[in-house]
C-alpha cells in the first residue's frame, strides 16, 4: 500500500459527499414520509415549523436529544447500549461501494465558464435563503416550552454560518471571473476522479456482507431489552432476514452473470449505451429489460431487507407494540430510526445501480468531464429518490401481510422465481441478448 497526499484528499472529498448524502437522507425523507402520508390520507401533515413544515426534522432532532434516556432495570446494559450502534454501522458503511456519478479526469487548468458562475452564484443565493429560513425557524422555537435558549442559540449559529458563506462564494465568483485560466494546484491535475469511495473487486459482495450484519442490531436490541414484545420482534427480524436475503442475493446473481464481474463501477459502465431491440427500437442497455423478474424480486426483497411495510414484522406496532425498539428512547431510538432510513437510501441506490444503469443518462454519452459528472450525479440522485419515494408510497398503500404468508412468499415464490431468473439470464447470454 502506498499513499500520496492528493489521493487521500480526493478520498476524503468522496467520503464527505457520500456521508453528507447518507446523513441527509434521514431528515429529508422523514419530511417526505410525513407529508407524503398526509397527501395519501388527505390531511395537511406537519406544516408548522418552516415553510411547508420543512424544518420539522430539525425540531424532531432537538426533541430526541432532549428526551430522557431510559434503560430498563432488567436489561443487559452493555448489549442494550451497543445494539443501536450495531444497527447503524452497516447502514453507514454499505454506501462506500456504490458509484454515484461518471468518473472524470481533473483538467490541468480551468477557465471561467457560465456553468461555474451559475453554481457559485446559485450556491450563494441558496445559502442566503437557507439562512433566512433558519432565522425564521429559530423564532418559532420561542413557542416551544423547555430548553428554548439552547435551540435558539443553535439556530442562530447555523444562520450565521450560512450567511458567512455567502460573501465567500460571491468573492470566489468575482475573483474567478477576472483571474482568467487557473492552474489546479497540489498535484490534482490530470488525476482520474472515480466517484466511489471503495472501488473494490468484490463490490457487490461487500455490500451484501455488510448489509447482512444489520440484523444484529435488531436481534441484540430485542434480546437485551428483556421485554417479551422486543424479543418477538428480534426473532421475527432474524427469521425474515435469513429468508429474504437469499432471494435478494439470487436476484442480483443474474446481473453478475450478465456483467461477468463483481465490481459495481464495471456493472454501471456496461449498462451505458443502447441495446437495439428487434433491430429497430433502441433501448438503454439497462439490466431491467432482460432481467425484469430479477428486478421485481430484488425490489420486493429490498422492502423485507429494510423492514418496511408491508414487511415490517420486526416492529409491527399493531401486534407487538414497537417490536425490537419498544424499550428504546431518546438518541438510542433515533439511531435505529436513522439506520432504517439510511438502509432504505443505500438499497435504493443499489437497485438503481444494478438494474437502472446507475448514473447513466439514456441516449446520451456522458462526457468524461465536470459537466458529465454533474449531470450523471443528478441522474443518480433522481433514480435513487424515485425508489426511495416508492418505499413511502407503498407504506401508506399496502397493509401488512400475515407472518406465515411472509415466510411462504419468501421460500415458495421468490426463491424459485429468482432461480428461474438465473436460468433465463443464462439462456439469454449465449444468444447475445445481454
Amino acid at each position: 500500500m502506498s499513499f500520496d497526499t492528493p489521493d487521500i484528499i480526493l478520498s476524503l472529498i468522496k467520503i464527505g459527499i457520500v456521508l453528507g448524502l447518507v446523513l441527509s437522507v434521514t431528515p429529508v425523507w422523514v419530511w417526505v414520509e410525513r407529508r407524503g402520508s398526509a397527501l395519501i390520507q388527505d390531511r395537511p401533515g406537519p406544516n408548522r415549523i418552516g415553510p411547508l413544515g420543512l424544518m420539522q426534522a430539525m425540531a424532531d432532532a432537538a426533541k430526541f436529544i432532549l428526551k430522557e434516556d431510559l434503560v430498563p432495570a432488567q436489561a443487559h446494559k452493555v448489549l442494550y447500549t451497543l445494539a443501536p450502534m450495531f444497527g447503524l454501522i452497516p447502514a453507514v458503511t454499505t454506501c462506500a461501494v456504490i458509484p454515484f456519478a461518471r468518473g472524470f479526469v481533473i483538467p490541468e487548468v480551468i477557465e471561467y465558464s457560465g456553468l461555474i458562475g451559475a453554481i457559485l452564484v446559485g450556491g450563494a443565493v441558496a445559502h442566503l435563503v437557507l439562512g433566512i429560513i433558519a432565522l425564521r425557524v429559530t423564532s418559532h422555537f420561542g413557542a416551544i416550552a423547555g430548553a428554548t435558549r439552547v435551540n435558539q442559540w443553535i439556530g442562530r449559529l447555523v444562520a450565521v454560518g450560512l450567511f458567512a458563506t455567502v460573501p465567500l462564494l460571491l468573492g470566489i465568483f468575482f475573483w474567478f471571473r477576472s483571474a482568467g485560466p487557473v492552474e489546479i494546484p497540489f498535484g490534482f491535475a490530470g488525476r482520474h476522479f472515480e466517484p466511489i469511495i471503495a472501488d473494490v473487486s468484490v463490490g457487490i459482495l461487500l455490500f451484501f456482507a455488510l448489509s447482512s450484519l444489520g440484523v444484529y442490531g435488531m436481534a441484540t436490541a430485542g434480546w437485551a431489552s428483556a421485554n417479551k414484545y422486543s424479543m418477538i420482534g428480534a426473532i421475527r427480524a432474524s427469521a425474515q432476514m435469513i429468508s429474504y436475503e437469499l432471494a435478494l442475493t439470487l436476484a442480483a446473481v443474474g446481473v453478475l452473470l450478465g456483467a461477468g464481474t463483481l465490481r459495481l463501477t464495471d456493472i454501471v459502465y456496461r449498462q451505458s449505451g443502447t441495446f437495439v431491440l428487434f433491430d429497430t427500437i433502441p433501448l438503454p442497455a439497462w439490466n431491467i429489460f432482460p432481467m425484469f423478474i430479477g428486478f421485481i424480486i430484488f425490489w420486493v426483497a429490498a422492502f423485507a431487507e429494510t423492514n418496511r411495510l408491508p414487511f415490517d414484522f420486526a416492529e409491527a406496532e399493531a401486534e407487538i407494540v414497537a417490536g425490537f425498539h419498544t424499550e428504546y428512547s431518546s438518541m438510542k431510538f433515533a439511531l435505529f430510526f436513522m439506520a432504517e432510513y439510511m438502509a432504505m437510501g443505500t438499497i435504493s441506490a443499489l437497485i438503481a445501480t444494478l438494474f437502472l444503469g446507475g448514473w447513466d443518462i439514456p441516449y446520451w454519452n456522458e462526457p468524461a468531464n465536470f459537466v458529465g459528472f454533474l449531470a450523471s450525479f443528478a441522474s443518480f440522485i433522481l433514480k435513487t429518490s424515485f425508489f426511495l419515494f416508492v418505499f413511502v408510497w407503498v407504506r401508506w398503500t399496502v397493509p401488512r401481510l400475515k407472518y406465515d404468508l411472509l415466510m411462504k412468499l419468501g421460500w415458495k415464490v421468490f426463491l424459485p422465481l429468482a432461480l428461474l431468473n438465473i436460468v433465463i439470464v443464462a439462456i439469454l447470454i449465449p444468444l447475445g441478448w445481454i
Binding site: 448489549l79 447482512s212 444484529y216 426473532i235 436475503e245
Partner: protein, 173 residues
C-alpha cells in the same frame, strides 16, 4: 508498517473475542463475540490479498450461520444462563487437552514460522480464479460435498416430520 498495525490490531481483536466466546457464561454474548471474531478474521483475508474470501467469510459465517445460531439461542430462551460447574472429570480432561494442544501449536509455530515481507504472489485469489480452481481441479470433492449437504437437508426434514407426526397423535407411537 501500516499492514502490521492493522494485522496486530485485528489479530488481538480476534483472539480476545474468541476467548470471550469460550469464557463468557451468557450464550448470546458468546454468539455476538464470535461474530466480531469472524469479522476480524475477514480482515486477515483482506491483508492476504483475498478480498473475495473476506466477503464470503462475512456473508456466510457472520451474516447467515451466526444469525441462525442467535435465532436458535433466542428461541430456546435459556432461563438459567449461569450454570453451576458440574462434571469435574470432563472439565479436567477438556482443560488439559486444550492446554496441551495450545502448547504444541505455539511450539511448532515458533519453530517453523518465518515472517514474509512481500514475496511474489503465487495465486491471485479473485472470484474467477477461485471459480476455475473449484470447478476444474476440485470438481469431484465439490460435488461430493454438495451431495453430503443434500443428505443432511433431507435428514433434517425427515427428523422434523417425525416429531411433528408424534406430536399429532399425542406421542402414542
Amino acid at each position: 508498517m501500516f499492514e502490521y498495525l492493522i494485522f496486530f490490531t485485528f489479530a488481538a481483536i480476534a483472539v480476545i473475542f474468541s476467548a470471550i466466546v469460550v469464557i463468557h457464561r451468557n450464550p448470546i454474548v458468546s454468539a455476538l463475540s464470535l461474530v466480531v471474531s469472524f469479522f476480524a478474521l475477514a480482515v486477515m483475508y483482506v491483508l492476504l490479498d483475498a478480498p473475495f474470501m473476506a466477503a464470503l467469510q462475512v456473508i456466510v459465517y457472520a451474516g447467515a450461520i451466526m444469525v441462525l445460531f442467535l435465532f436458535v439461542i433466542m428461541l430456546l430462551n435459556l432461563a438459567q444462563t449461569d450454570e453451576p460447574i458440574s462434571r469435574p472429570v470432563q472439565q479436567f480432561l477438556g482443560i488439559t487437552g486444550a492446554a496441551g494442544f495450545a502448547i504444541t501449536l505455539i511450539y511448532y509455530i515458533l519453530k517453523a514460522a518465518v515472517i514474509h515481507t512481500g514475496g511474489p504472489a503465487v495465486f491471485v485469489a479473485d472470484a474467477r480464479a477461485i471459480g476455475v480452481t473449484m470447478f476444474e481441479a476440485y470438481i469431484f470433492p465439490f460435488e461430493a460435498v454438495s451431495i453430503l449437504l443434500l443428505a443432511a437437508i433431507v435428514g433434517a426434514l425427515i427428523l422434523s416430520q417425525r416429531t411433528s407426526a408424534i406430536a399429532k397423535d399425542g406421542g402414542a407411537r
